[in-house]
């Protein structure tokens, strides 16, 4: 193993890859070779570094300089300037407030420095395809401790005492789940990892699988030892090809090193893991539907009880944990339950990974202690609004969750507090909404998702959600009535009570929670045919302000239906009967002369 002078960690998370990481890496390699530095400089592709809005990202060590928004040209310049001459290339540094250049935002910016990384401890730090780097960060030490120094009961007790709760959404205590599976009679049991992440806005599981696959393998093996399973499955959705590829490679390495297979670490415990791939069905994230899908059936949920711990995969006792939950297990085994409890609250100990998206400056993944307030999360860590517009609310928990208005942003983020507000922690997706977002539209949007994804097995979910969707659609078209709003509320509560699985039971939540806080927006849609956020197309019109229009013709040229009339240097006008409300004109007007009005002009 040769020592190197510089190491470049380049983020190869899905988001950076989609914004051009590969061509940046190629440019780096080409240029480094040109200067014959390939032996002195090491390039490591890591998992997601979390700050997806800045991608592609790389950090050059030993200095720890953080370069962002890279292009192949940037990479060439950095090789020539930074690596060869030791001069930091300022144009690709992180820019803080007032355009201040910050070469090491990891240390100075709250987005990075306020984080406590447990589940994501190795993301962006190690090469996910190198098992030895994982070991160097104490990887597989927890497995050694569990197998050689602890009984299965002791392992379960540590996890129970730590208070770790399921990070997939339900928040059920993990240790308790393991205990049920352990005590459930049966000589054959299964350990399953649920990597069918599907909540819109949540991508921590993908990032962990891509960036630190070994932690999932280690945790599953520990869990299998605790419950007494010899066979495991990771169920990954097919939309995550990079995660599948890296996990497969990691599984082979783990077998080679003796962390999987027969007689693990020389003990008499044997365990192996196989990958099963989904095929585009959101409902398979529900544990009994997931089991059906592994069995090669349609992914429809089963009636509970019996629970998977009693009758799961092939009717054998099975334990299912989510990716992020498992990623917390090895550090808890090494450091003990009290260590984990130093963060978070009494009932929600530890940390949680949140995916910030929507109208917030720093989008990406952040891991923070439970109990942090929404305000800290959205303003300090997230950096607030990127445009300066007023943030209106945050939507948490995706299609099963709800909205929380800005007035409640001082609420601590934990399972109970968010439930009290009619929202949920869920899988950790946080979509920030501002004054341009219409709450009826948001509710309709999520409901459309749930209607699409309903497996059709039980009537309340299949039919009820569809009717709710139709009512919402009517309201956004300006055809709703006040009775419709009442019906929405009634129907929502009935569907919650009577659906078979989690999908149906939570599908009305986005509607009920927006009704709770934003009833006046619903009423504006039905009474005044007005959309206060000016989002619902049927309720708005685009108009040109004759005072501001200079007649540059930019809007008329871009209009796809040619409905903007006017001569050069004269005030233009939109023909409302032809306008398709695509918004192209507003984008190109440099004089701010075009605006939206609601209600629509007849």
């Amino acid at each position: 193993m040769h020592l190197t002078t510089n190491t470049i960690l380049i983020c190869a998370g899905g988001a950076c890859i989609s914004s051009g990481e590969e061509s940046v890496k190629e440019a780096l390699e080409r240029k480094i070779k040109e200067y014959n530095l390939q032996d002195a400089i090491e390039i490591v592709e890591t998992g997601c570094m979390g700050a997806c809005s800045l991608g592609p990202i790389m950090v050059i060590y030993p200095e720890g300089i953080y370069y962002q928004k890279l292009t192949p040209e940037a990479a060439e310049k950095i090789v020539e300037e930074h690596l060869l001459k030791g001069r930091v290339v300022e144009e690709y540094l992180y820019q803080g407030d007032k355009d201040k250049l910050i070469p090491q935002p990891q240390k100075e910016i709250p987005f990075f420095s306020r984080q406590v990384k447990i589940a994501t401890r190795n993301l962006g730090v190690i090469d996910p395809l190198n098992i030895e780097e994982y070991i160097a960060r104490d990887g597989y030490f927890a497995l050694h401790k569990a197998l050689k120094e602890m009984t299965p009961e002791e392992v379960i007790k540590v996890i129970k005492d730590s208070g770790l709760r399921g990070r997939g959404g339900a928040g059920f205590p993990t240790g308790l789940k393991w205990e049920f599976a352990r005590k459930s009679p049966g000589d054959e049991k299964y350990m399953i990892c649920n990597a069918d992440e599907g909540d819109p806005g949540a991508f921590m599981d993908r990032s962990i699988l891509e960036g630190d696959p070994h932690t999932i393998i280690e945790a599953m093996t520990i869990a299998a030892y605790a419950i007494g399973a010899n066979k495991g499955f990771v169920y990954v959705r097919a939309e995550y090809p990079i995660a599948i590829e890296r996990l497969s490679a990691a599984l082979n390495q783990a077998r080679e090193y003796g962390f999987l297979g027969e007689n693990i670490l020389g003990t008499d415990f044997s365990f192996d893991i196989e990958i099963r791939i989904g095929a585009g069905a959101f409902v398979c994230g529900e544990e009994t539907a997931l089991i059906n899908s592994i069995e090669g059936e349609r992914g429809q949920p089963r009636v509970k009880p019996p629970y998977p711990a009693q009758k799961g995969l092939w009717n054998k006792p099975s334990n299912i944990n989510n990716v992020e939950t498992l990623a917390c297990v090895p550090p808890i085994i090494i450091n003990g339950p009290e260590w984990f409890r130093q963060w978070g609250t009494e009932k929600s100990p530890g940390t949680k990974v949140f995916a910030l998206a929507g109208k917030v400056k720093n989008t990406g993944l952040v891991e923070v202690p439970m109990g942090i307030t929404l305000r800290e999360l959205i303003y300090e860590i997230g950096g607030g609004s990127p445009t300066g517009k007023k943030i209106k609310a945050v939507q948490t928990g995706g299609p099963s969750g709800g909205v929380i208005p800005e007035e409640y942003f001082d609420t601590p983020v934990d399972y109970e507090s968010l439930n009290n507000l009619g929202a949920i922690v869920g899988s950790g997706g946080m979509i920030v909404l501002d004054e341009d977002d219409c709450m009826v539209d948001v509710a309709k949007f999520f409901l459309e998702f749930s209607v699409d994804e309903s497996c059709g097995k039980c009537t309340p979910c299949r039919e009820g959600n569809k009717i709710m969707y139709e009512i919402l659609d009517k309201i956004t078209r300006g055809e709703g009535t006040e009775e419709d709003i009442e019906l929405l509320e009634k129907l929502g509560n009935t569907i919650k009570d009577s659906s078979l699985c989690g999908l149906g039971q939570t599908a009305p939540n986005p509607v009920l929670s927006t009704l709770r806080y934003y009833k006046e927006e619903y009423l504006a849609h039905v009474r005044d045919k007005k959309c206060p956020a000016k989002k619902c197309r049927d309720l708005i019109s685009y108009v040109i302000d004759p005072e501001k229009c200079v007649g540059c013709t930019a809007c008329a040229r871009v209009c796809p239906v040619n409905c903007i009339n006017g001569e050069v240097r004269k005030v233009h006008e939109i023909d409302q009967s032809q306008c398709i409300k695509c918004g192209s004109c507003i984008e190109v007007c440099r004089f701010g002369a075009i605006s939206k009005v609601s209600p629509a002009i007849e």
Binding site: G14, A15, I17, S18, S19, A51, C52, S53, G55, E197, G198, D199, P200, G201, A202, F203, D205, R206, S207, K231, A238, E239, Y240, P241, E274, R276, I277, G278, A279, G280, A281, I294, E295, G296, E297, R298, G299, Q300, W314, A355, A357, G358, K359, T363, G364, L365, Q395, G398, G429, I431, D437, V442, F445, F446, F449, D452, C455, P560, C582, G583
Partner: protein
């Protein structure tokens, strides 16, 4: 077109990995669909799977039609999956959808006449940090604008003509 013997080979390999009777079915369907030129499961293939894995044909179609990623009809060489989840929606995803529909002159679920592109919706791809996002076959494209997406499509079309 994929030959019968190739399909048999895929099924044969899959059968070795099976633990229980049907658990390898979805995996096998993926493998075959990836190999078939038009990204779908032809009826003959389904029949071969049924015979080789001893699963009734009705059961195979039950599974095939449930999962959105499988198709029983021929699709384009490039299957474009547009994320229609909220994070992409609030990042002006609607304009991306319109640009793609306009560029290709097709709607969701349709294939262009030249057999190159099929347009589909997908749930969240988990790349919300760089929304709006689409996936073309196995590749992700993020931070899209209507202009960028038109360029990507034009490049793919151009590549085909050469």
């Amino acid at each position: 077109m994929i030959s019968q013997s190739e399909i048999k080979k895929i099924v044969e390999e899959a059968r070795k990995e099976a633990l229980e009777k049907q658990d390898i079915l979805i995996y096998t369907l993926h493998k075959i669909q990836d190999k078939v030129e038009n990204n779908y499961i032809p009826e003959e293939s389904a029949k071969i799977i049924s015979k080789e894995l001893k699963i009734p044909l009705s059961k195979i179609y039950e599974v095939l039609t449930f999962y959105t990623m499988f198709s029983t009809k021929p699709r384009g060489k490039y299957v474009i999956r547009i994320c229609t989840s909220l994070p992409c929606h609030v990042a002006n995803g609607r304009e991306i959808i319109e640009a793609i529909k306009d560029e290709l002159k097709i709607d969701f679920g349709q294939t262009t006449k030249d057999g190159l592109f099929t347009l589909e919706e997908t749930g969240c791809l988990g790349l919300c940090g760089v929304s709006p996002v689409i996936m073309i076959n196995q590749e992700y494209y993020g931070n899209l604008t209507p202009e960028k997406v038109r360029e990507i499509l034009k490049n793919l079309k151009g590549g085909e003509e050469k």
